[in-house]
Symmetry: C2
Subunit: 315 residues, 2 copies
């Protein structure tokens, strides 16, 4: 037991990231049933969809699971109502200030974790009474911070100076990286990309194949003028780069992004025009496996790595 397994009442501190278009009840329940914490990504769901996803998840596992809620979501009041009504025990919030909802959710006995990409935001979370932090480095997929602080720099800064427990995210797809995160002071890891390429993820098979075929340097953090996002480079990415060359302003970038790009790419499998949010570590992911296989592989490699570290032969 550590503070994270205790907080979530789980066996082993692997948390599956709640991601738009990729993490529905099938993935979340599989990870929870493996002994970690599965999370439903509410950011891409209408309220009625979220409601039915939560119900299906409850049917698929008796173990704790959570919902990830991007705080900028327009229908957030309805989402929160559904979460409370369904007695979801754990909520991960992201993309917004922890100030707005923390007290309210806690008054409903919900455990609240907030995703941050900077030390300053971690401090704010602690002050607001958040239960734990996800510290997400520059290498993480999807939306990210402007400071570009990498996991190696961000995590120890937070764990050394903040008291609430820290879950490391960004660049973690193996037991080695999980052990590294623990060396940096994290008490859990949140894993996204690796679970996107799982059998149970709701990502389109084209997207899963693009991940396992991706190479070093194939992702980029872009659109920093809007909300910075790390994505797999494709035709849509080239269009963004072109827009930059033409000195496009924020309105023009926004209109290029348009609506529905993330769904088109990740859920419908349009690898050219879609937005393919994924982490830098995708270049090391080579096979689509079941969530439980992934879970066990990481867990076993984590213990093996700890064992290796314990047998280092340097004085």
């Amino acid at each position: 037991m550590n503070r994270i397994t205790k907080l979530f009442n789980i066996e082993f501190p692997i948390i599956q990231a709640g991601m738009v278009w990729c993490s529905g009840w099938e993935l979340a329940s599989s990870v929870s049933n493996s002994g970690g914490l599965g999370i439903i990504g509410a950011g891409s769901m209408y309220p009625n969809i979220l409601d039915s996803q939560i119900k299906k998840c409850k049917n698929a596992t008796k173990l704790p699971f959570g919902v990830n809620l991007p705080l900028l979501y327009p229908d957030i009041d309805k989402h929160i109502e559904i979460i409370i009504k369904n007695k979801v025990p754990i909520v991960f919030t992201s993309a917004g200030s922890p100030k707005r909802w923390t007290k309210f959710l806690k008054s409903h006995k919900i455990i609240i974790v907030h995703v941050v990409s900077s030390f300053d935001f971690a401090k704010k979370c602690q002050n607001e009474g958040v239960d734990a932090i996800v510290a997400e480095g520059f290498e993480a997929g999807g939306h990210n911070g402007r400071e570009e602080t990498t996991s190696m720099c961000l995590i120890p800064n937070i764990t050394t100076n903040i008291n609430i427990p820290t879950i490391a995210a960004g660049g973690i797809a193996s037991g080695k990286a999980m052990a590294a995160a623990f060396a940096l002071g994290a008490e859990g890891v949140q894993i996204g990309s690796r679970f996107v390429a799982s059998k149970e993820s709701s990502a389109h098979i084209n997207f899963k194949n693009a991940i396992i075929n991706s190479n070093e340097g194939d992702t980029s953090l872009t659109l920093k003028e809007l909300t910075p996002v790390r994505l797999l480079k494709n035709k849509f990415y080239d269009k963004i780069q072109n827009a930059y060359l033409k000195k496009s302003n924020i309105d023009q970038l926004n209109s290029l992004l348009g609506k529905g790009r993330a769904k088109k790419g990740m859920f419908e499998g349009d690898l050219e025009e879609g937005e393919l949010e994924i982490g830098q570590i995708s270049s090391t992911i080579n096979k689509i496996k079941s969530a439980s296989e992934i879970f066990d592989e990481i867990k076993n490699e984590f213990y093996l790595t700890l064992n290796n570290l314990n047998n280092l032969n340097i004085k």
Copy 2:
């Protein structure tokens, strides 16, 4: 003993990065005398200066030390001649292909290590017969790669797929980070920023103070069209950003950079117009200490971290 301590014949696998304007014989000999590997940064030295620095270093330590040689240096033939004449046992090469000099240096029984920022380059090094690799993540200070691969992603990819030993660099300024690097499979760490802010470094006191006063987000990897470089944001950095806004071409960027900016900033202490090369981890460095204090602190925290990992209470 591990492969790195054996290769260099040192006690403990901390390597001090050979950096322009910051690492002369005083820093290098202090680190070697502490039990690690000190490195003279030849990139900012005329041949006669390098010659006298090596001689002074030999007077200050009987233990092994090395020279870092950026392969793009114009007078490289003279540098190599001096290294051979002075029987320097170890050379770290960077900023260029390992192909050109590896065989020649090895024919003189010199141990050769090459600095890479990508997996592909690590593979090339292995094929060329380089003895070890420094794998340098996106967060590292100074010149860096275009792929932006962070330490958390780069190191395990290399250590899993490359056989020669790997020294991790980028984001490492503490024993926690050193333990993390070892979890990722590294057998040594190369530490730059932390040693720039040491008493023995030849950096100007203004630059050292700027480092210990820097905060999260204060560095940036820029000038990607020339040679990408991570530096502390200052007036010179603002000029670069302005040049980008004005769509300056490579010639214009080159002329803005001009000559002698690095010396002006790091050695002469001009914090406004100088180029201040430093890593992202500088935000966590808060005090100027002696190299041996830094060395011992990292070493002690490394063992403490391994001990903590060995006592993790999760099943």
